[in-house]
Every structure is written in C-alpha cells, then in structure tokens.
Symmetry: C2
Subunit: 181 residues, 2 copies
C-alpha cells in the first residue's frame, strides 16, 4: 500500500489551529461525555503507522519534535541548518521532498503543522487523509488552518470519534469526481 500523507490536528469551530499568540490551551472538550462514541481517538496507534513527521520551524522551536525521536522529522525552514540525528532541515521545496518520500517504501507521513506548511501541502493537494478534531469553541481570532485560495478537494468521511464534545472527523480523498465515494 502506498504511503499516505496525513494531516492530524484540532481546530476551533471557526477554523483556527492556535490563538494569535500561538497557544492552544482552548483545545479541550466541553466536559460532557454523553455523546462519546465507543471508538476512541488512539493517537499512539496512529503514530505506530507513521515513520515521518513534517513540521515547520516554529513547531521545532517549541520543541515539538522531541515527541518523535524514533521517527524521521523534516523541519521546513528558510534557514540553512545542519541535519542532526533524526532531524532533517529543509530550506528548499519541502512539498517536493515529501512527494518523493511518498514514492518510497515506508509507513505514513504525519503532517504536523503549522499553518503555512499545511497551506503549501493543501495547495499541492498531496494530503491523502484529513483527521480534523473540531473543538466546541468559537475562538474568535487566531491562526487559521486554511489560508484560502485553495483547490477544491472532495472528501469522504470514513470514520468519526466524539470525545466530550470534540468531534474528530476522518476524511480520505473522494475517489471519483461524482458524488459517490
């Protein structure tokens, strides 16, 4: 099976992935388990099927790469930085590099964020799965997931999970151009 590029993150109902100052302490449920689904979001299991993580320099600067020491981590940056251990700094065309990785043998590729990096992947339409947790909040302002001016991409909802008001929607790309899957 071909490697998939998977975007996996949480957004507010109004589409923000972080507050203006970069914080995400608002990514919590509403405390009501009444609608919880039997299937749960199993992030550890998700990571088992991943061997590459792609993130932007801001995420790296916040040490988010430390969670992924046993995976190859690509960091998109405008600076020229030296690779070290599992860390690969890319100042060139990160989308092209991930496209090349997709053609190789391996597990899935986790597109971590942030927003600008995701934007370039959406625009190139090389994301195979979108796993989006919708947090029960209108944040009001912040850093948006979708920056606009994107191609139209038809999706197929293949699974969902609800955990205390957070609705995790798992989409693959729709296979045909008509309305069927």
């Amino acid at each position: 099976m071909k490697r998939k590029v998977i975007l996996h993150l949480a957004v507010s109902l109004d589409g923000y992935i972080a507050s203006e100052d970069g914080s995400y302490d608002w990514i919590v449920g509403d405390g009501d388990a009444a609608l919880n689904t039997e299937n749960k979001l199993n992030f550890d299991k998700f990571l088992e099927d991943v061997d590459i993580v792609v993130m932007g320099k801001n995420c790296y600067d916040q040490n988010m790469h430390n969670e992924y020491k046993n995976k190859k981590v690509y960091v998109a940056t405008s600076q020229k930085l030296e690779n070290q251990d599992n860390l690969h700094f890319i100042s060139g065309d990160i989308v092209k590099i991930i496209q090349e990785e997709k053609e190789k043998e391996g597990k899935d590729i986790f597109l971590f964020g942030g927003g600008k990096l995701i934007d370039s992947f959406v625009k190139a339409d090389i994301i195979d799965e979108y796993i989006i947790g919708i947090v029960p909040i209108i944040l009001g302002k912040g850093r948006p997931l979708f920056l606009g001016n994107n191609p139209t991409i038809k999706l197929h909802l293949y699974e969902y999970v609800i955990e205390e008001g957070i609705t995790i929607l798992k989409y693959s790309k729709r296979k045909t151009e008509d309305s069927s899957i």
Copy 2:
C-alpha cells in the same frame, strides 16, 4: 422557555457557506451511507419551532424568503423598503430588533444568513444555538461563515447527525466558564 436564536446552515470543511459566485451546489454528501446515524436532520420539525426568520438582502433577492410565508421574516438591508405581508425590512440595527424579539413570547428565531448578517450576530454573541452541517469538501475559496475578530464563545455539543458524510453538529452555548457544561 426563552426564545432562542438559532444559526442553522452548512459549511465546507474550510468554513465557506457559499462559492465565490454565491452558488452552493457543492452542499451534497459523499454518497456513502455507512456512517449514517439513526437520528436524522429533520428540517421541517426544526421549522415548526420557529416563527421568525432573519436574512440579509442578498438572500431575499434570491427569493429565499418564499419558503417562509407563514413566518415573520426580517430582511436586513441598507435600503428603505416598505414592509409587506410577513416581510419586515430593517435598515437600522437588526441585532437590536432581534434582541427585543427574544424578550417577547414566541417560538425560536432562525438566523438564515448570509455571512455579513451572521457576523453581526456572532459579534453581539446573541446566537443561542449553532447547528452547523460540515460538508465533506475543501471548497478552496468562497464566502466564509466566520469573518474573524469575534469574541471567544465556548460551546456544548448536544447532538449530532451524520448523513452521507455530512456531519451536522448541534451546539448550545456552554453554561459555565470552566470546561464542564
């Protein structure tokens, strides 16, 4: 029970309520009923509990008010137009008028759209329920639901419906300021 102001509409995963040209032929499911919930979206039943509909002039110009002949319809417009039958044209502060209606006896108030009208209601934080159908598509560009620079509004997911990949999320406002409902 107090009258509620209810926003009820569909958005693309990237938060658009209409294409750039105003069309919404993309508001369709993915053709796969495998995840359909037992409870369905019953729009007729929703309308039974509504006796006021609020819409902008663009919606009126597209004759969307014709569906609501047995309800009081407020049309927000910058023009001075004469009221006729069930149609009330408001060139003044529509939010204030709806706030006054909320204090009166009656059924619920359906906030229909479009985007600019909704924006003023979000900013005034007088929407009691958000019923948002998330269509399985990244539209790419269009008319956004949320225009940004809004207050933070914590929500409580009280019901959901899935119909062929469209996820309808029903939120009320969260009652307390902590993370519980």
